[in-house]
Amino acid sequence: MPLTSQPIDTSIYSAITDAIKTEAERILTEGQVTAVVGYAAARRKGSAQPIIITEATDAAKLIFTAACVNNLAVYLTKAKKEVPKSGKIGIVVKGCDLKALTGLMGESQLKREDLYLIGVPCAGVLGSTVQPATGLTTDTIAPKCTECDAHLPTGCDFVPLQTPVTPELEQKYATEIARLEALTPAERWAYWKEQFSKCIKCYACRQVCPFCFCEQCLCDRNKPQMVDTTPRPAGNTAWHIVRAMHLAGRCAGCAECERVCPMDIPLNLLNRKMAKELKELYDHEAGFEVLDKGPLNSYTDKDDQSFIK
């Protein structure tokens, strides 16, 4: 493990940017898609933002850099209205984003034949876009990228011919989960209570999550009211537990919830812990294969029953 910060090679990103531009222009010109969801440069130097283009001439705006942090899958779920409803949609996806799209296909939210997938060989993105022009290093890389097993998305319609190189990094979530698991239940509860107490119920985590596609969230219901909506401890805890449980066996690990949280609640840590449980109990991991039934919606007599005591 490197002790000091070391740069990570992102030199392939410029070639990828060129390939994305050419491909997006081609599919829009040929009418294969009605829109392409991708990234474009934003106002600040080095920054990037999501963009939806419908004209071939706009393809030149598309980029891919280490600041392209967003999971664009969220623009394809039903709650989002910006994307045209008819025709095939092109979308730029990193491995983690593709896992989310795969999950959405399994949950009848998207159809593969309605998508044109432009996969991105990804060496990693920034953990924070506060300083978007920062170079990608072992320090600035997003924690999720330290555990990534999907640098090269598969099953896409188009992937630029580049091979990402990432050094072996310390797995940040695994380390933290191990630390929490070593605590007593009371200590662990105290840790999470402290974290949840910071929540201001802005629901940014919900808005950014591709899997929070419900038109009416059960936490917004008032007849009957399931969850206290004010940012008080009981309601906060209820919200975060509902969120974690609803994502168990579904979360693709894009960590957008954690990135957008203004109060720095380690939301993806909770997601990773749930994912670990699912792996251990049901041998399930989010991947590139569309599942008809998720691990919590299926039953076999081989399922672990040790939790029944």
Partner: protein
Amino acid sequence: MSRIGVFICHCGENISRTVDVERVALEVGKLPGVSFSTDYKYMCSDPGQNLLKKAIQEQKLTHIVVAACSPRMHEKTFRKAVEAAGLNPYLCEMANIREHCSWVHENREEATVKATEIVGMMVERVKKNRVLPTITVPVTKRSLVIGGGIAGIQAALDIADCGHEVILVEREPSIGGHMAQLSETFPTLDCSQCIMTPKMVDVANHPKIKLYTYSEIELVEGYIGNFQVTIKKRARSVDEDKCTGCGVCMTKCPQKKIPNKFDQNIGMRTAIYVPFPQAVPNTPVIDRDNCTWYKTGKCGVCQKVCGPGAVDFEQQDKLIVEAVGAIVVATGFDLYSIDEKPKGSPIKGYGEFGHGKIPDVIDGMTFERLASASGPTGGKILRPSDGKEPKQIVFIQCIGSRAREKGISYCSKVCCMYTAKHTMLYHHKVHDGQAYVFFMDARTPGKSYDEFWRRSIEEEEAVYIRGMVSRLYQKGDKIVVMGSDIAVGVQVEIEADMVVLATAVQPQKGAELLAQKLGISYDKYNFYSEAHAKLRPVECATAGIYLAGACQGPKDIPETVSQASAAAAKVMTLFSKDQLEREPIVARVKESGCVGCFACKKVCAYGAVEEKEIRDRQGNLIKTVAFVNPGVCAGCGTCQATCPSKSVELDGYTDEQVIAMIEAL
């Protein structure tokens, strides 16, 4: 504003011994919305129900809570009473203050407080109850019977005799099942074929029975009253309409040495064959695996000799869809194959008994074929190895059955009786022979059964040895049987000419696959499960599907026939009305909130959830949502628990009702 009536039952002393019912009535009478509360010694009695009806009318009550026993006991009783008084029955709820309170507590004060709280919860719940209309489902008055053994034949004839159409599906080329294989039947020793074949002919000639032989169930869709069944009719290679059953093809077929399954593989048949002369339909089938034409493309003798030109080598499997309202499952049994350990099965084999290795160690069904007048030996008891008449014969009972260590713990029920029968048949045919039976104990309940068993010992000279056999081995042309006689406490060694093993009765191979297609449950042995062991023994938990015969558990012929007629009676009960009434405790989708993830559809065990398209006036698709078919829904609530946006609710058990109950505490 609701005007709730609360009726508290003493249940004799069952409740009032521990709960101060008068105080409960007084306390709950003060709750908002409750306008009448009273107690009575037996609420379920006629005067109790009249009290309830009278109060509804006089007090103009809108909702009812009956605090008494478990709703499983009397919910129906009180809902009927409420309906008779002019209210919707689903505006009546029961508070269980007997099983949940008085029976499990001793402290009167605390039990009274708890009972008040239980009733208070139900008062809050009943306020949120909705009027639920009874669901009616149309009934297709045709039925499917799966399996053409005696159970399926009996059920099909009974239903058809009532004037309803029956589709009878049999996997083998002929109906008849195992009963057609038997020689004589206990306890009267009448010839099995003589009593069986007239019934088979009745099936063939019945105008209301449509028979599909050499066919299997491919797919079952739908629900009670409205099933769609896809039947795969395997290619017979013989046109059933043209064939006259003359049998010339069979006499000319050059492949004559194929073991006949019907004769337990000791008799031979041709490649184009009927399994036995009395087969129904009497139309041969070509066994394509053994036919020269299918193997080499040459021969075709049967086609050449067939006068009406019925042989059709090009015939294909056909899929036929039939609409039926009820299904009787009568797939029967198979005998435990003892010589090998079935792959992947927890059941262990009995290699030590030499079945499959020593040719003269046979199972009970093979003995039936040897004893049968239409069998391969013409009814003579002859050894398979050299065709000699065995002079010493040993029967061993409980092979596989009642042996937990071997994987089967149940009793196969018929073996004691058929072994007794075998000793008699043997004695009648081999006058100078001696039969020995090794047995654990003789289980012979049933009309004239024990007398029959006694007869085999007292009049037919069978020697019964209480004890198990430890080993068998071939010695020259004899089989040495080593066992113990625990009644005397000595080791026994018999040099037998033939050994017959009474092997366990098991469900048909692949029984679990059919159960999965039908959506019915089965036990660890793959026997199909009835809805209630005592009170609903012929119904499955899945509505509209009934069981008959040994597919449910080992049974003899009289029991099988009784159950088949019972299943037919259940089908006729269903068919007696044009519309079927169902409880409206079913799930309902709130379409505005549903995002169509179909998690509900994936977890529904009854296949009740469908996809429904919502379109605007121009016909543009707005979204696809879940739809629960009320005719299929069993009201289990799994969808409700699974829905991430809480957009599906079970009527009568809505989140609103449950939360109101919790908040009342």
